[in-house]
Structures are given as C-alpha cells and as structure tokens.
Symmetry: C2
Subunit: 333 residues, 2 copies
C-alpha cells in the first residue's frame, strides 16, 4: 500500500478498506473486528465509535454535534440494536469560542433527547492553535440487541429476491456541506438530512418485517454500501436508477459540480434489505415516518453477476456500481 496516509484513506472507499485490512485488522485481529460491521456485536450489546471532523462545523440542517449523535445512533440502529448510551469526547483548538461550543453541545443534547439516548461519559482535550481545526468530536455508543436481530449487521440471511429499500432522497448531506463551504459560490436551500433513524428502524422491526440487512449510507454514499454488500456477501444486486430519490436542487448541484449523487454522503439515509413479502409493509411504515416520507424500493438481490452491484440506468443501460477509488469530499462528516 501507499507509504503515507492520503485523504482517500479516510474516504470510506477502496483506500480505506486497504488501510483497515492491512493495518488495523492485521494487528488487532479478532473475530469480532473481522466482521467489519458498523457496530461490534458483543453478546447482548452493540458497540460502535466514530470521530467527526466535518468542515464547516455549522451547516444547513445541523452541525458537528448533531452529526456526532445521529451518526452513532444510526450505526447502532442499523445493526438492529436499540441505542442506549453515548460517550462524547471533544478535541478543541485553543481560542475556539465557548459560545459555539455551547451551540454544538446543546444540539447534541437535543438530538440525544430525540433519539432517546443518554450521553453518559465524556472527555475534553485542548490543543494549541493550529494543531486541530476548531473542534473534532468522537462519540461511541452502546445499544441493546435481541438475539433475533443479530444476523442483520452481517446480512447472514440475505437471499435472492430480497428487496432493497431506502428512506428518502440521497446526497443531501454532502451537497449541504459543499454549499456550506461556498464551493462554486452557490446559493442553494439544500439542507443536510442528518437525523436519528432509530425510531423509523424500530417501527419496521417491531412490525415483524423480515429485515435481512441495514446500513446507513454515509461517507461514500449508497454506491459504497451497495458495492461493499455485493462484494462482501458474494451476491448480485440490481438498482433501478429511476427509482432512487434525488431532489431536484441536489441533482442540479451534483451535475454542475461533477459529482455522482450515488457517491455523495448522507447522514439520515438507511438502506434496508427486506424479504420480498414484507417490502410493501416496510415501505408503508417508512413513508408514514417523518424521516421516511420519500421512501422507495430501489432494487433487489439477484442470482446473477455475483459480487457485483449493477445499476439499470435511466437511459436503459447497465453499469457496475463500484467502490469509491479516491477521496471525493474530505471532512464530509
């Protein structure tokens, strides 16, 4: 692999995978970590961690604090766990305004309240000016998981014919961040989709829908989740491009800036693989939830082209959905 760390090593794509395989898993080697699930499943609990370095720290639809709570809540929820406890660790640059910190902390408290989790432990480090950029936040989370949902994080029960659902439009978060950076001097009203998804997911599970797999499509977008799933489970996927919700202004901004929305980060979108007989029920539950109004069935598990996710494009073509090769948008979350 490369001799020095590249931005792409943090992209969630190919380089990230290489770093994880060749450095982290090689040394930390154990059966739980090897699963490479978003949360580690430990007996009755799920355990996860994420650091947040988003730039700018305040953006339309949220801030680094809302992201830090929602991201970790979602990592637990997509494992089939009920998120319970969150830790919050801050690395702050000397000179950072306390008033900004208060806004962030208050947002974290509000998101935690919404998600029904408690922030129970924390840490604060301060580094000299110029040694970090404003503030970085790490959250770790603990959730409770039922025996019957443990298969979800690895997708052990996925079968041909299972349907792939998503709870709304893609690429909103990534484009809101780009707009926040004044990239291209855009004036847009694009808002991040940052939201805790544990409520929506819980309703689908509690209704008895046979959920086979879930993953929140953050860094690297839905393309990364889909290509990882196909490669990791050795299965074929098909996605129907016209069914994938993309809002008009996001599509416009993506086209102008040359981004493929499939690779752009979301912070409130979950891909759900569900038994075909339960797809309509799950979709109806999702559409009735505030974070799922634009939910859609976007594809299915197929018996062909194993290890590949194939896109049926709007213009009637077919192409492979591949993993992100480099870094598209550093510090997107």
């Amino acid at each position: 692999m490369e001799k020095n760390i590249l931005l792409g090593h943090g992209s969630g794509g190919k380089l990230s995978h290489e770093l994880i395989e060749k450095v982290f898993i090689r040394h930390f080697s154990n059966e739980i970590l090897k699963q490479q699930t978003d949360s580690a499943i430990l007996d009755q609990i799920a355990f996860t961690t994420d650091s947040y370095v988003v730039d700018p720290i305040f953006f339309s639809g949220g801030n680094i604090g809302t992201l830090a709570v929602c991201g970790t809540v979602n990592d637990l929820a997509v494992s089939g766990a009920t998120p319970k406890y969150i830790s919050a660790a801050f690395i702050i640059e000397e000179g950072f305004p306390v008033s900004d910190l208060e806004i962030i902390v208050q947002s974290m408290a509000e998101e935690a309240e919404k998600a029904g989790v408690m922030i129970v432990t924390g840490d604060t480090k301060v580094v000299n000016r110029g040694q970090c950029d404003k503030v970085f936040i790490n959250t770790a989370g603990i959730g409770l998981i039922d025996e019957k949902h443990k298969h979800i994080s690895t997708g052990a029960q996925i079968e041909t014919g299972d349907v792939i659902l998503i709870n709304g439009s893609i690429a909103d978060h990534g484009m809101a961040i780009m707009a926040g950076r004044n990239f291209g001097n855009f004036k847009t009203d694009i808002t991040s989709d940052c939201a805790p998804l544990n409520g929506l997911i819980r309703e689908v599970l509690d209704a008895g829908c046979r959920v086979k797999f879930m993953r929140d499509a953050t860094r690297g977008g839905i393309a990364t989740v889909l290509s990882e799933l196909a490669a990791g489970k050795g299965i074929g996927l098909e996605i129907d491009e016209p069914e994938v919700p993309v809002s008009e202004n996001v599509r416009g901004m993506c086209e102008l800036l040359g981004f493929d929305p499939f690779y752009v980060a979301n912070e409130g979108k979950v891909l759900i693989v569900v038994h075909p007989e339960d797809a309509a029920k799950a979709l109806s539950i999702m559409k009735n939830h505030e974070f799922g109004r634009m939910s859609a069935a976007i594809g299915r598990i197929v018996s062909e082209h194993q290890r590949k996710a194939i896109l049926n494009t709007e213009i009637g073509g077919r192409r492979i959905i591949d993993m992100l090769a480099g870094e598209q948008l550093p510090r997107i979350c």
Copy 2:
C-alpha cells in the same frame, strides 16, 4: 466563564471543571453524567472514553497507541470494572507515514493483549495537512462490573481512617514527555510509567481488600485527584510528602524546570483508598506485582479540615493541595 477555549480547559484542573459543569453537564444533564466518575456505571457495565493527543507521539516508554489502550483500560479498572472491549478511532493528518501508524497500531494490539481486552470496533478519518497534528486517537471502553464494586467509582463508602495507597513513583509520564520534547535540552533516561493496571487492581479486589475508591492520576497528577476527592466527597485528607515515591531523576528534572511532581501526569499510577485493616495486605499484593514494586501508603482520610487535602511537607510544614489552576503541560496525554 471565559469567552474562548484556553489550553487550561483541557488541563483536568479548575478550568476543565468549570467547562464540564457550565457547558457539558448543563446541557447533557442526567444522573449518570453528573457523577463525574471516570467511567459511567450502567447496570452491569462500565463505559468510558478518552481522546489522546500526546505530543510527541513516540516517547520513552510508549507511544500514543499504548497510552490510548492503557488509559481507557485504567479508567475502567479504577471503577472496579473488568475491562473487556475497546474501540479505536483515528484522526490522521494527510501525509502521515503509514509505517508510523503501523508501529502505533501494533503497540495498541500488544497492550490490549497484555490487558486482556479486545479492540472490537473502530473508525478512521483523514484531514488535510495542517488540520490536525499527526494523529489523534480516541478509545472508548466497556467493562463488566460486579454489584459489590459499584460504590468504588463514587467513593460512597469512604470513612475516616481509610488509608491512601499508590502503586509507585509519580510524575514519570509527564517528565518523559517533556524530555521527549527536548524541553531544556535534557539528556535523561526517564521513562513513562504507561501501563495497564487492571491486573494489579483485580488482584487487590479479588483478595477481598475493602477498596473504597480508586482513581488513576493522569492529567493534573495526584494533586488533582486528591483535591477533587476531598472537595467532591466533603472529606479531609492528609498526605505525607516523604512517603510519596518520586524517582531521583524525575525529582531533579522537576526541580530544574519548576514543576511540582504532585501536578505532573502519570499513566500507570492508581490511588487506592482502602479500609485501614486491609491496607497492609493490599500493599503487599501491590508490591508483588510488576506495576507496583514501589507501592506505598502515602496518607489517610481524616475527620479534620473537611473538603481539603493537606500535605505534611518534608520540612515539617503543612499546606493545602489545590487543584491545578491553568494548564501545566498541554498535550501530555
């Protein structure tokens, strides 16, 4: 409080306390966080987090990775918990050598092995050059705790007459870091005391010693732990300065640089408050452990001067051990 974040807000001293009280606890308000223990005690589990920003990242006796594992293992162990699972989240500066990352990751794996914990989940973010300094690591940890040890983290059973033990010499870590920074162009052989203390602590607990309270004396040194304990529990403490182990070269370096070793960070030292009848037994167990050869009884809980920790000095005087007011050594851990 201050309008902007100062280095002292990360010191573990007075400013840190103010920030925790006025910003974090005010907003995150809940009964568990309010305890301000190193680990949150949640039913049968203990949960903790710490970010590590030590500079330099490699130093005599360890590196940022050994620190990240030992620190979190120790936070769990001093709560009376058995550390089990660790998360590892990296924020890496673009251009950081992968070979250095490998050394760090390998050290983490080794310390985890020594401590008997598994690193089960993780995260990697990469930021642009200049947006963080080399690498920051966050570890969160989960431990299992017995009902009978739950009182330890809050010190609920502390009584007058209890004895205060320490497992060896103080200020080694802080001075090793200072030497690593070539502060004052020192040539020393001072080595950080960075070590996982869960083994030593487990032996003391398993021998049935009535441990009332434990705390690892990291940022802010033993002075901070002692003054916090006195103020937090409304009790009086007395420490006998001649009994507190300080190695000769550390004492010399502290004197030359103007540091009080009581305020200098440790990464392998635990203060144990134990029932007086069990003090000799605990001390003997500690001295037989590789991380406790220089263990000593350094003081006791007294009925006088409540809320104050008093030092009986070497020259026969008495003075108050106060909390650190500013920041002594930024990025010490």
